[in-house]
């Protein structure tokens, strides 16, 4: 397994090996699916759309539908205007969505298509909406694409109605699973917060099997709700990398006060999220949520011996990593390496600050790096556990280290669509995953005389 990975880490200038990120349009497509009756449309070669649909489908095991401008060589020479115009006409005639969310690709960006102008010059049927986001694959990562599409929802849809009293809170859930979005809604509902959450993929990419296929499932935030977001009192943006751009856009466009928070993963970040909702909305803590928190603390005390002091290396997307690094430190673990493929110096500062506060002088944080580097560093400084997406399984096997699958994408296990990692319940699930991974590994590798019934 990964037999060619050798040697000590050395910075490379040309070659990325086993990337820890992918390109913008796939994140934009995922965000767009969180709008009710929305068909994402990829403006570029059909291969992009095909790859993005495939990868999202592998992760969600649910139908992921999107259309494409199907560029040919001619479109590259003459521009993609007629492809997009014809494409939109066909899309509305044949698939009848309420909304089309256009994302660009490296192809349409490189040839310089002005998507905004093209859409303006297209006859969009009455009552239908077309939004777009520029998502060049050569900048940022899939997280940037998600963020850009969320921002586009505000730019093209949200409105502040003058003279109308501001009410309610916007929640931007960030690049998390449908299960997490469902859990965020449950928490806000239990706290009696009047809220609008967008995007919301919870009943779009994790739909029930009823024997009937509906191209547009019941879920997703409606255009009306996103429009109304401009009249909210505040925006709680979860995950700075995926949500702050939309929150700041709401502030700029509609004067809605933004609060940028961590993803509510782990006890501290969940506490902070709940405190913010209580602060903004008033009211008291919900008893059932308090009960869940108590259970979480109880388990953290009871099973800490299984993970306290263990070394863990984490990779994935910034928002998940920021919250997870905080949580593993709270569990008494030692995050020795935190790595993302996504650019962003703020990430380094935030993680380094956590290391400093926890007195972790040896720990390393890296951005714009890849899994080859991650593997080389683990070889040089071994760990007890890896936390990351499915792509970590090669390294886990090569180094005989257990892997806890977290983040996006998870292509080889089920559960992420249905069981959240956010909130107190989610934190409990993370502890279950970590302890199970460590103990399963011990049970499979320990001497027979050390194999024990009760652990």
């Amino acid at each position: 397994m990964l037999d060619e990975t050798k040697g000590l880490y050395k910075k490379r200038t040309g070659l990325k090996i086993n990337p820890a990120k992918t390109c913008q349009p796939i994140g934009a497509m995922y965000a767009a699916l969180g709008i009710h009756k929305c068909l994402p449309h990829s403006h570029g070669s059909q291969g992009c759309c095909s790859y993005h649909r495939m990868h999202l489908t592998r992760h969600y095991r649910d139908p992921i539908v999107a259309s494409t401008s199907s560029f040919t060589e001619g479109a590259c020479v003459f521009g993609g205007k007629s492809n997009l115009k014809k494409g939109l006409e066909n899309v509305f005639h044949i698939y009848n969505p309420d909304v089309v969310a256009v994302n660009t690709t490296c192809l349409s960006e490189t040839i310089g298509d002005d998507v905004g102008e093209i859409i303006k010059s297209t006859d969009v049927p009455e009552g239908k909406t077309v939004i777009f986001a520029n998502t060049p694959s050569y900048a940022g990562s899939h997280v940037t694409g998600f963020s850009n599409m969320c921002k586009a929802m505000v730019t093209h849809v949200s409105e502040k109605k003058e003279g109308k009293k501001a009410k309610g809170i916007n929640i931007l859930p960030g690049y998390v699973e449908p299960s997490d979005m469902m859990e965020i809604k449950r928490i806000a509902t239990l706290l009696n917060v009047p809220f609008t959450m967008f995007p919301d993929t919870s009943n779009v990419v994790a739909t029930p099997n009823t024997g009937n296929y509906s191209m547009y499932p019941e879920g997703g935030t409606t255009i009306k709700e996103i429009r109304r977001a401009g009249n909210a009192i505040a925006t709680v943006a979860l995950g700075s990398f995926s949500s702050e751009a939309a929150a700041y856009e709401l502030e700029k466009k509609c004067e809605v006060v933004p609060y940028i928070m961590k993803e509510p993963i782990g006890i501290k970040a969940t506490d902070a999220f709940i405190m913010k909702l209580l602060e903004l909305n008033g009211g008291n803590m919900d008893a059932s949520l308090e009960f869940e928190r108590g259970q979480l603390v109880d388990v953290m005390v009871d099973v800490h011996n299984h993970y306290h002091g263990k070394k863990v290396a984490l990779f994935g997307d910034p928002d998940i990593l920021i919250a997870m690094t905080e949580f593993v430190i709270d569990l008494g673990m030692i995050p020795t390496l935190v790595l993302t493929g996504t650019p962003g110096k703020a990430f380094v500062a935030e993680i380094q600050d956590m290391f400093d506060q926890a007195g972790l002088a040896e720990s390393q944080v890296m951005i714009e790096e890849d899994l080859f580097t991650f593997h080389q560093l683990i070889k040089a400084s071994p760990v007890d556990l890896i936390i990351g997406n499915t792509y970590g399984k090669y390294i886990a096997r090569a180094e005989q280290v257990p892997l806890v699958r977290m983040g996006w994408p998870i292509l080889d296990r089920v559960g992420h669509s249905y069981f959240p990692v956010v909130g107190y319940k989610g934190a409990l699930r993370i502890i279950e995953k970590i302890t199970t991974a460590l103990l399963d590994h011990y049970d499979q590798t320990c001497e027979e005389e050390d194999f024990e019934l009760v652990m």
Binding site: G14, K16, T22, S45, M54, T57, A66, K86, A139
Partner: protein
Amino acid sequence: MSESKKLVDKVLDIYPAKVMKNRKSHMVIKDASVKQEIAANTRAIPGIITNRGCAYAGCKGVVIGPIVDMVHIVHGPVGCSYYAWGTRRNKGKAREGGQNFLEYAFTTDMQESDIVFGGEKKLRAAIDEAVELFHPKAISISATCPVGLIGDDIHAIARDKSKEHGLKILAFSCEGYKGVSQSAGHHIANNKLMTDVIGTIDTPAKEFSINLLGEYNIGGDEWEIARVLTKIGYNIISTMTGNGAIDEIANAHKADLNVIQCHRSINYVAEMVETKYGLPWIKVNFIGVEGFSKALRDMAKYFDDPALTARTEAVIAEETTSIEEEMAGYKALLDGKTAVLFVGGSRAHHYQGLLREIGIETIVAGYEFGHRDDYEGRDVIPYIKVDADSRNIEEIHVEKDEKKYSLRIPASRAEQLKKEIPWASYDGLLSEMKDGTLVIDDLNHIETEQIIKILKPEFFGSGIKDKYMVQKMGVYAKQMHSYDYSGPYAGYQGAVNFSRDVAAGILTPAWKYITAPWYKEPLLSGKVEGVEQVC
């Protein structure tokens, strides 16, 4: 009006006039009494939710990527390399003392500044770093969309760096916008194998030596095929390209026969190899018990060696006997069921025989990126109009290599053999279909939905993008590109694996729970005793 005609009308009715006219030409109701023509390998309509991919996917993803001992560098932004990393299930192993890079994805991860100022510097650095880190036998460079647009000269870089480092570097201009589907990428990749690889190593071949063309070792198919072929006494010089090794492909011209599995992706290479080096090709189908046995017998006829023929018959007898009972068991479970197949440029044809062996009849079939010859047979090739999209894909012409050419079979016997075995011949998918069944090219989302709704087949064989939509409608859908993470499906053991998986998919108890009991049984009106008191 036939059922198929009603279905076609209903599907076409959804479309605006122009789209309707276009899509109509891609649909044919089989009628053996007339010569039928189908539109294929034409561009997809913008806005239509097609399943097709791009030239890059066909080049790097399908043809070049499976070669195990090369570092495959994708020159472009990160996504294209990322999505083609470990997702196709082309398995491979390192040769003894050799390398295997299938677990790796290499990309130049182009950034905005590379788009503006050019990405050549980065590509050069990437090659240097790959050589320094891995010392591979060879490197490939696959171009993605922006590379062609900004004008990076990947071919010049390949030449320079090849000289500098003393290793083979193959550059492919397979930008995603080229052609109309993956098929363009197959051509671009195979042309390069023809011009730069095949014929560059001359290790003498042993007897009964063959190449397997258009076999990609998905789920280990090639290993199951090779198990049986080796048992009979064949020497497989190279496989293009499943579990392929660059030096083996370089030596391919030393074989005595090319056998072609996937006609679409590689038939032109076989043609060129025959012209240049003299070894002929036959079309085989390694899928299904009868298909595989026929392929083995055709190969034996070609070599015309009594001992080989006897071993062929002995192995066929041994292998088929060992699986007979199990296959009969699956047939008993599945007899009378129907299938819709939409896959590839070959598989929608290849699997029909195997499905029939377990009692399943194919009622609709089509290719995602097939050409007219894949439907209508090779006779149509001279009459296919080359449109602007295909003209952009380089056609190469080869001539007889006077030093390396050798005629394998004397012309007189060749003429006789051509009557007995599919020597350079393929009749296409339409020939397999029963009258009244439907053939659709480039089947799309809404057509799939309509077909499944109306025909309610028990089996839908396609890809991941339409799998879950079909299953939401209560019909088992199997990924025929990746085999739903199972396999091998080729050869004798593969036939058993496939049948087992199909039986499990159709018969798994979950289906009977789709309708909840409260929708099936009358609900008694009544109330729970004591509820009021408790409240």
